[in-house]
């Protein structure tokens, strides 16, 4: 089933065009990897999906992005509700300078999800458990989140993102600042999370894309060169550029 449908998306930074005519369907409860060389626009596309490009003054987005058949670029779209439904994890772990508990309860608080302290405790616990962090931090929930290691911080950010039960989770190179062990933990986690969430991950590591994703899209110079099942893209791509990139001949 198709969760997100992007149709003819163009993105401009001022006068410079960063994305050209992107059309891409994203399957529900699967992991879609976006790969491509630096500056090819994959992160820009990812940020279109939860309207994070709104934060950048000079950025403008054209085209349709349908999530559950609703165009999020429409004026009637409520960005706050949209971002509740579409969570995001960033390249660098960015826990708030607050306690672990406050970090996870942040989303439920601003969306008014929890009715009582007890309910909030439950949300925090389940989110941390789902993010495979609970066992490590359950005794120090009221210590600052910035005191964790890099990998733990990133899992905290994932717990924060899933605390509001989003339908989609966007991940922008979530492992690029982490060591191989932490990376393996996060990849395992992604596999687990796809049961309940649709995941889109931007990554520089081809191996990671091959390991975690079912679908892959290859971006180059602001264009979506090819997309399809990860197996096909990696074993038998249609486009020569994709072939070259995957075999490491450029990028």
């Amino acid at each position: 089933m198709i969760k997100i449908k992007a149709k003819d998306v163009d993105v401009f930074y001022g006068k410079k065009q960063a994305l050209f005519n992107i059309s891409l369907d994203i399957e529900e409860n699967q992991v879609t990897a976006l790969i491509g060389p630096s500056g090819c626009g994959k992160s820009t596309f990812l940020r279109c999906l939860n309207r994070m490009n709104d934060v950048i003054d000079i950025c403008s987005v054209k085209g349709e992005i349908l999530i559950n058949d609703f165009n999020i670029n429409d004026k009637s779209c409520d960005v706050v509700r949209l971002r509740e439904k579409i969570g995001m994890v960033f390249q660098k772990p960015n826990p708030f300078p607050k306690t672990l508990y406050e970090n996870v309860s942040y989303g439920p608080t601003i969306h008014g999800i929890a009715q009582s302290k007890q309910e909030m405790d439950e949300i925090v616990e389940t989110s941390l458990k789902k993010a495979a962090l609970w066992e490590e931090v359950k005794d120090r929930l009221h210590e600052p989140g910035t005191g964790l290691s890099g990998g733990q911080q990133q899992r905290l950010c994932i717990a924060r993102a899933i605390s509001v039960r989003p339908e989609v989770i966007l991940m922008d190179e979530p492992c690029s600042a982490l060591d191989p062990i932490a990376t393996a933990q996060i990849e395992e986690l992604i596999d687990e999370l796809k049961k309940e969430h649709t995941i889109i991950i931007v990554t520089h590591s081809m191996a990671q894309a091959a390991r975690v994703s079912q679908n892959t899209g290859f971006f180059h110079l602001g264009q979506l060169i090819e997309h399809g099942s990860t197996d096909k893209i990696f074993k038998n791509p249609d486009n020569k550029k994709t072939q070259d990139y995957i075999t490491g001949r450029f990028g």
Binding site: M52, V79, V80, R83, M88, N94, F96, P97, Y106, H111
Partner: protein, 461 residues
């Protein structure tokens, strides 16, 4: 004469730089590799030229007057003069030699004046000779030492290190000097006025101390109930409090606006405009407070049936608050801007609005820095003088009514030290005691503020 010599030394310095570099180039042209860039050889030689000249100059400036005085006065030794009388004779001699002496000229003094003049001219010419020969000797020595493998970079770097250290030492020594100049007078003051009376006394009326004839003996009992500092400390903190009530909300909100809401263009123009407020001399604020705000408040109050003094704490504090706005706004703007963008992104991505992000993420993250900026603002408010002198009056009332006039530590120091003063008088010394307490209060505030700001810095590095 000194000026000519000085210019000459500077010229010599430049020449030796040139020669040092030239020698380096000559060495280089013989295909030898130098240990440093050629200009280091130049600097090296220039330093060798400047240092001995500087040392001799300073020693001369310190010792010449003393030696000349000793030599001139040696004629008067064994004649039973007292030290004070000898000093007087020496001053007369100097005045006569400058042709400014108007009293009775005795042959003795005339002879001394001639001796003084000849000594001075001998000193001058010997100084020139000694300085120049020292320079020539040291430059020649250094020039000979320069070879392909001589070290020049290290001495030059060390010299620069020493110069920079001296500069910062000068600033520190000044602070220490100020403290010492306050400390002795303060101690003298507390010998007459008990510390307890000063700190806990509720009546400040230094004018009472004017009445004393300076020839009379000091009678501490007449100062009781004169130097009780409670009213002016209370006034100081009260006015500072009013000022911060104005400055903190406005400064903080404008800082948040500039950092988070204003577009690049607005920020580009608004920030310098707000900072202009910081550049206005406080005396102009004083005018504004005394001639515009004060009377306005009085009229407003009268129309509402309130008794408002024309010189009210409210007028002074309010205007002082306006003066402090740019400090708080500019500093908190900087602090908020330096909160990493990734935190904002994280919050927005959770679906938080701008105001929620500011309230829940950015403000707490920036809080230590904001507190630091507020404390710096408070220490400015406590040290501010001109606005208070002009707008809040000089009568030290112990009151918490913002519509009455009060006075502050700084204003009282001004009152005490304006016009004729007798040193060694408790009234004058009171100013030093006040200055000392002001120094201590602001020092503590600054230390706390710096601590807080430092704590903030550690967080993001």
């Amino acid at each position: 004469m000194n000026l000519i010599l000085f210019t000459f030394i500077v010229l010599l310095g430049f020449t030796s730089y040139y020669f040092g570099r030239k020698k380096a180039y000559t060495i280089q042209s013989t295909k030898k590799r130098l240990t440093a860039l050629p200009q280091f050889y130049g600097y090296y030689l220039a330093i060798w030229c400047a240092i001995p000249a500087f040392i001799i100059f300073s020693l001369w400036a310190i010792f010449e007057p003393t030696i000349v005085k000793l030599l001139v006065l040696s004629d008067y030794s064994n004649q039973g003069y007292l030290d004070d009388e000898l000093n007087l004779i020496y001053e007369k001699t100097k005045a006569l030699s400058r042709g400014q002496f108007t009293g009775e000229i005795t042959p003795f003094i005339e002879a001394s004046a001639e001796k003084y003049l000849s000594l001075r001219s001998i000193a001058q010419s010997s100084k020139v000779v000694i300085v120049l020969s020292a320079i020539i000797a040291s430059v020649a020595y250094a020039y000979k030492r320069i070879s392909s493998n001589s070290r020049t970079r290290e001495p030059v770097e060390k010299f620069l290190n020493a110069v920079l250290f001296t500069a910062s030492l000068a600033a520190i020594l000044t602070t220490v000097g100020i403290v010492f100049s306050l400390i002795f007078q303060t101690i003298d003051f507390f010998k007459v006025i008990p510390l307890f009376d000063f700190v806990f006394g509720t009546h400040w009326y230094p004018a009472k101390a004017f009445v004393r004839d300076s020839s009379e003996a000091l009678d501490p009992s007449m100062y009781s109930d004169t130097f009780g500092a409670v009213p002016i400390f209370a006034g100081t903190f009260f006015i500072a409090f009013i000022a911060m009530c104005v400055a903190i909300p406005i400064g903080l909100m404008s800082g948040i606006y500039l950092a988070e809401y204003a577009s690049y263009k607005v920020r580009q123009y608004a920030k310098p405009l707000i900072e202009i407020l910081a550049g206005i001399p406080t005396v102009v604020y004083g005018f504004f407070a005394a001639l515009t705000v004060g009377p306005f408040l009085k009229e407003l109050g009268t129309s509402m049936g309130l008794e408002v003094s024309a010189e009210s704490a409210l007028a002074a504090g309010g205007v002082m608050g306006i003066m402090i706005i740019p400090f708080i706004s500019s500093l908190s703007d900087d602090v908020i801007t330096s909160v990493p963008q990734s935190l904002r992104d994280g919050s927005y991505a959770m679906g938080a609005t701008k105001s929620e992000t500011i309230k829940r993420v950015i403000f707490p993250a920036a809080l230590p820095g904001i507190v630091g900026s507020i404390l710096l603002g408070v220490s400015r408010a406590i040290g501010e003088t001109m606005i208070v002198v002009m707008a809040s009056g000089l009568a030290a009332n112990l009151t918490l009514n913002p519509l009455e006039s009060t006075s502050t530590i700084t204003a009282q120091i001004v009152v005490i030290l304006i016009g004729d003063q007798a040193f060694g008088d408790p009234k004058t010394q009171a100013a030093f005691a006040l200055g000392m307490s002001l120094f201590l209060v602001t020092l503590c505030l600054n230390i706390v503020a710096l601590r807080v700001v430092k704590k903030y810095r550690e967080k993001y590095e």
